[in-house]
Symmetry: C3
Subunit: 158 residues, 3 copies
């Protein structure tokens, strides 16, 4: 796929180096034509990406948190593939929204992730998705997202 750099600029988003894992796990595993990505969280130095939907995070802030988690995952994919030329399909996006028991707009929050993927890569970035509400997330972040993507190993850049 081709990432549309202009969309990044318009949104004031920037790709950054892949985050380092903090335990005995790694940010992604390649198996055959797939990358399985660890859960990525919305940590970007911006306080609004912490907290609970339905309490101290608005839906709009939650959407930005979901976008931040995707940027975090794209950094990992870019690091693993040397770019996005070898990215063929976004197979699955599983989103976990830190929220209160009465919050029911998990899908709207995760649209901040899904919409960004399609804006950046075009309609072929459409993906299967799950959106659930969870009682808490690591470090108190608002959103965590894991992904499975299909790659073309022959198109990987060095």
């Amino acid at each position: 796929m081709q990432l549309n750099e202009k969309v990044l600029e318009q949104k004031g988003l920037k790709l950054y180096p892949a985050p380092q894992p903090v335990g005995s796990y790694v940010q992604c595993i390649r198996t055959g034509n797939y990358l399985h990505l660890s859960g990525g969280i919305s940590v970007n130095g911006d306080e609004s990406y912490y907290g609970k939907l339905g309490k101290d995070v608005s839906i709009e802030e939650g959407q930005r948190a979901a976008a931040a988690a995707i940027m975090n995952r794209l950094a990992v994919i870019q690091g693993a593939l040397g770019g996005f030329g070898a990215l063929r399909k976004i197979v699955a996006v599983n989103g976990f929204v830190n929220c209160t028991p009465d919050f029911t707009d998990q899908a709207k929050v995760l649209n901040g992730a899904s919409d960004l993927l399609v804006e950046l890569f075009g309609p072929e970035a459409a993906h299967s998705r799950s959106a659930v509400g969870v009682v808490s997330l690591p470090l108190g972040v608002a959103v965590e997202i894991n992904m499975i993507v299909e790659i073309d190993p022959e198109a990987m850049e060095a």
Copy 2:
């Protein structure tokens, strides 16, 4: 696999057209010999499929909600494959039960999904499964289920 139509009838269940996605995601992605299905929710016009286990939804209602989520996912599979002849294995069923902190019968609730699959398709529909309790789900539904299934692309109907 062959779906046993008589079981559907006996249970008063009906297959319906695949639901439309409501965002930048799609109901399923095919990759190689697999379909990855988005999280399907127990929305069927029946109020008893909303709410929380341990509070306003009984275990029996939760089992019907789990069955409704499976019917919803089967609609997607049927739409993608043109029937069930190309369905080879139910690889994974991941179930999320909307519940209170002290509810611990998630497995019983999800049996409403697992049992239905085996009743409809026979023992070869046995699958791996996860059952967890979540603080909230989209629209306030009682159950959400995503799936991975193995298919035989050569057996797909037009």
Copy 3:
């Protein structure tokens, strides 16, 4: 991979026969070069593996619960493969931590699982991982973990 038996001994851990499923699902499904494992829970006859992090389970106890869930999953893998010689990669480890809304150390708890895998099998057991907090789990256990592993079917023992 080779399981280091000495590490098991040092830790006082023991492999046991694969647990039986309690519904229409099975403990794992093989598809191609993969095993998809059902969610395994931290049930071992030890009460400290029940309960909620942030309330009645300490982080250290949670780490032991995560290790117990991994031992439970390794029993399933051993049963399916006839040993660990055909185990090639730990692709994904998805961990669900039963916790209170203000508990944010899910990653630390799951390190009890990730670290054990690397101690038992060496660095090639590094894996992708998700860690989320959930409001409740089946039977009230502290930790549930599902996994996807890559296998070499030709190396399977009878």
